[in-house]
Each structure stands twice: as C-alpha cells, then as structure tokens.
Symmetry: C2
Subunit: 279 residues, 2 copies
C-alpha cells in the first residue's frame, strides 16, 4: 500500500502535523519505504519535494516537516513500489502544465499493464500511476474547455476514475491548485476541522497539537488520507466508488459510483504476491 | 541582472561548491534577492527546489547547499525581478514535459512585451522568461522529431535563440537531462575541470576546495555561469552570440551567431531604469 495525503483549506495552512504522521509510515510504522513526494501550492506556483529515500529516514523529509510552508492545497504520497523501479522519476506526485496551471496527481493502487491513450502527455518514468495521470490529462485536454464549471469537471473526472477503477485499484488525489479532486476505489478517509477547534494526537508518533491555538475561528481545513492519521478524532471513511471535489476546505460536489471489487485487489492483499504495488 | 549556473558532467557530481558561491549573490554580494531555484537531474527524474526568498538568507538554499545531491546535469537561477511579481510561479528554472523527458529552462535577460506563439505550452506565471520558454517548447514540439540528432537540435535551438536575442537580452540554459544547451546574448562564462585537478577559491565567500581529493582522474565537470565563480581559475568567457551544446562535461557542438547590441541592453544597464529585470 502506498499512502496518500491531501489538504484543502480556506486559508494558507501548514501541513507539518499530518506530514509528520504520514512520514512515519514510510519505513517505520508502515512499509512504504520506496520514496515520497509532496507538492505545496502557493498561488499558481508549486513547491515540490521528491526523494526516492524512505521518508521515515529521509533528510529532506525531516527538513520539510519543520518548514513553515503554508498552502491552501497540498498533495503528498509515500510509495511502496511494485511497478517501476525505485528512482526519482517514479516518485509521486506527478505534475503537468495544462491551460496555464500546474496539475498535480498522486495515485494509490495498481492497474497492471495500463497504457495511456494517444495524446501529448507522456510518462517520464515507468509506473502505471504516471501512465494513468497522462491518460487522464490527455482526456481532460481533449474533452473539457479551460473554463469548464466545477460540475463539468467533476463529471469528466468521475467518469475517467470509474473507468480506471474498473480495471484495477484507483484511489487518487488530483489538483490544479484551485480545487482538489479525490476518488476512492478501495480506501480513503477525510476530516474537516473548523471552529471550535480542539486537540488531536497522531496515531503513528507521539505528537499532539491543539488546533485552537494555531487557527482563527473562520479557518476550515480538510485533510484527506488513505487511513486516518489521528486516533482521537472522527474521520469520514469514503465508501467504495465515492468521490469528493474539495475547494477551500469544503466539499463542493460529491457522489458515489458503482465500482466492482476487482480481481487484482484480492491478489494484491495476498501475502503470496508480495512485493505488491501501491494498493 | 539575474544569474545563471549550469553544470554538465560525465559522472554524478555535487554542485555544492558552485551553488554556495552563487547563492551569496542572492542578496549578499549581489542584488539578486528576488528568489532562486535549482533543478538537479537524476536519470530522467528531476529534483526541484524553488523559493521566492533571497537565496543568501533562504533556509531552503542553506539546506540544499549541504545536500549531497549528485547529478550529471543541473540548472540554477537567482532572480532580480522586473517583469512579474516576486512569487513562486515566477521563479526559475521552469519545467515542461516533452517526449517523455523533463525539459528545464532558466533565462537571464529581458524581452519586454514578448508573447509566445500559439501552442500547447502556456506560462503559469507572468514573466517574459516563461513566455520565451513556452514559445521555444512549442516550436521544438512542432518542428523537431523526438529522435532528432544533436546537430538538428542545435540548429533549431540556435535559430530560436538568435531570434529572441534580436528582440532583447537572451542568455539561457536549457536541458532535457541528456544535453545542456547554452546561449550567450550578453554574458556567460564556462570552465571545464579535468585531471590533473587542482584547488579553487570562490570569489563571493571564503570557501576553497581541492578538487583533486574529491574526483577521479576520468571525471570531466563543466560549470557554466553568468560570471566566473572562482578567482584563481581561468574561465572561458562566451562572446556575444556564442552558443555551446554540452554533454557529459564536453562541448559537442558550438558556434557563434551575429547578435546586434539591442537598445534594451543600454536601457537596462542605466541606473535610471532601476529596478531592472534579469539582464
């Protein structure tokens, strides 16, 4: 299992707390030791950090966890490789420019043998995840207008996600810096923090935070992750096929598709098939 | 003046020494305090660090200067802004994917009012530099084949660079990770270090290195920078209109174009026109 972490907020917010929890799973409390990456939007710009080292011991991850980077949208991924070697070009999140925005994508899942349809975006590395991203971007460029409404965008992204989830496991986070699209094929959870803010403790490392002292009453901050990161808060667990489009910390569109259990899912959770991919 | 720094080497090499010298010019020994960025290729992957803070005092620059990142090709830029605000999306180097490779570009110069021709690549920020990069990428995609020879590539890049340099100041570094293209409109210098390696001292900060103790006899490492970074080595100063295509530390093609002194050059060096752009 790779793990995903996303943030959508109505005010620039640092991801330090959640990032600290997630990174423990990168070779310490979890097996996702095959690299990690994070993208922080600042306006239309994006700060990217990628490292093929295990994030639990990565010098760069340790540095980033302490950086006071504030962002309204962020996407993070820790990797357990199967398809594609452990190297920088296979490390999520992946990025491409479309319509003058930087689109960022991270994937948890596996669609063995997936090949993108023809289009201008091509994979740099050799993961099925990057092929999926390029396929998605090619389809969006060919079928949506740059001024598409959130509803049109969601319709297209959901149809694509459903078609991928029918071929394998496809949990994803996708953003252009304005919105954050999330699709759950097998596993995803979210939490929205707003006033009155309270304390929270991470599951994976003994770190607690009192959000009341770090926020303003109008702040709305949502965290989306493969598994809940705290043990004393109530997370919403996505159902199979459920999707949410986030903006400024709020869900602006959501729904649920019929996504069958895929044969590959059983194969992937079988210990016989280790090392398994990002599912 | 913005400043450029590039490296081409035949073995993965760290840029720490040159990067340390360059970063002093970002608000300490030079006025380039409006952000900085660096791209290190590792195979087909790229590590990117961008920061709109002055690099002389940037926490991230201090960290990167000590990171043992080894790369055969790297591109770094420190910015003194004129066109475009000081923010992340205006911070060089810029990147785009083409033919399954990540292309990286940094520009020193100014072409006021430049607008790219039609094509799929669009600027994310609002600098003339990123417009130039997108124009160049659109032209390359439309006019070259993915298996173009170095000669074909150079012919196209030189013709484009010349056309830009006729409109303003255009010193650039461009790479796809395989080669490094460099064009001098007004100012660029290079040095190639090979056995027998000797010591070198930075101009901008009291740091010396003995390359003999850090290299193997077969290593070839070339550094390209706006101005020489050391005071005890002999740098080759590019002439106006001179270009070099580097690969594995060696020049594999070079030439010189007739580039007239542009009116904008005089305007830009005039103190009356401060703050000037990256020339």
């Amino acid at each position: 299992m790779c793990e995903l972490l996303g943030m959508s907020a109505n005010t620039p917010t640092d991801l330090c707390f959640s990032f600290t929890g997630l990174t423990r799973r990168g070779g310490e409390t979890g097996p996702h030791k095959d690299g990690w990456g994070v993208a922080f939007y600042e306006g239309k710009g994006v700060r990217l950090f990628h490292d093929p080292e295990p994030c639990a011991t990565s010098q760069i991850a340790e540095f980033v966890a302490k950086l006071p980077i504030k962002s309204k949208t962020a996407i993070c991924h820790i990797r357990q490789a199967n398809v594609g070697n452990i190297n920088l070009s296979n490390t999520h999140p992946f990025t491409r420019e479309l319509w003058g925005r930087c689109w960022v994508f991270a994937h948890n899942g596996q669609i063995p043998g997936f090949t993108r349809r023809t289009g201008i975006y091509e994979a740099i590395g050799d993961t099925d995840s990057e092929e999926l991203f390029c396929d998605l971007m090619n389809h969006v460029r060919q079928n949506l207008q740059r001024d598409a409404t959130a509803e049109q965008l969601a319709t297209t992204l959901v149809a694509l996600s459903k078609s991928y989830a029918e071929q394998g496991v496809f949990n994803c986070l996708l953003s252009n810096g304005d919105w954050l699209f999330t699709f759950c094929s097998t596993k995803l959870a979210s939490i929205t923090r707003r006033a009155p803010f309270g304390p929270a403790c991470l599951k994976d490392v003994e770190v607690a935070v009192d959000f009341a002292s770090e926020t303003n009453p109008k702040d709305v901050v949502s965290i989306i992750a493969t598994e809940p990161l705290t043990h004393d808060e109530e997370w919403d667990v996505y159902e199979r096929g459920e999707w949410k489009l986030w903006q400024s910390g709020e869900v602006i569109a959501q729904g649920k598709e019929d996504v069958p259990v895929h044969k590959a899912e059983h194969e992937m959770v079988s210990p016989k098939n280790m090392p398994r991919d990002c599912a």
